[in-house]
Amino acid sequence: MKRLAIVTFSRLVCKLRSVTDGVPDPLYEAFGKLVHQHRKRVDRMTQDRLGALVGLSRTSITNIEKGRQHVSLHQLYRIADALGVTPDLLLPVPPKPGTSKLAQKLPPGTDPEITQWAATLKPRKAKPETA
């Protein structure tokens, strides 16, 4: 019984670590930045309000936006829904220059950031909610 409790406790610690490990990770930082940018786009969408909509505290939203807290898949969907975008728009896209036909159409001398942006364009299936 005692051993079971210890095992359960150590599992819980592991789980907590994986959720909030505090170590900055470029992937989660990039994700957090996208959440922050899409949140700022919506009228009156504070960290408080987003937290309330997705069932997290304001502090959690701060941590997610800073990349310190790692979100679960269901949270990604809830955050996207609250911000009126499809989940894929919150996912950081690794740079793949020259792979998009669309990006290849851009005239030479186009700002590389714009070329990269053109390579990551995606259709939006769900209609955004008007907040």
Binding site: R41, L89, T110, I114, A118, K122
Partner: protein
Amino acid sequence: MKNARKAQTIREFAARLLKECGIDEPPVPVDEIAEHLGAEIRYSPFDGELAGMLVRGDEGEIVIGVNSLHHINRQRFTIAHECGHLLLHKGKDVHIDKTFRVNRRDELSSKAVDPDEIEANRFAAELLMPYDMIVDDIVDYELDMEDDEELAELATRYQVSVQALTHRVTNLFKNIF
């Protein structure tokens, strides 16, 4: 450099398109109009002044790219602006559009801009705030330009920014009186 075509000419383009799509009340479903013109709308976040772009592909495919970080009303204006390029400017395969100067009232600043851009902006205004609809509403509302709440209400009805609406109504008044 050629001059931008007149507002009246651009208005006729927009009115014809609205009629083709059977649209007679606001808000104008701009994404349906883009699809009607054969364009696919795609989104991606861009942290900067980029609003959107229009690309005509080699196999006839047409893509309108929109900055998903912009306010929804701004995204609607961007799509309408790109539809303008699509309809009015056949010769150029790629249009990349940074921030539009829709809120500048003075003609001087818009003269510095490419005539294609002026036309696309005029077209976007005519498409999102069609002449017949907006004139009816100005009369019905007995619109007072000093009343911020009234302007905001009308902007919501058309799903455009208050700046875009104010600019549109100011231009209409200038031409009527």
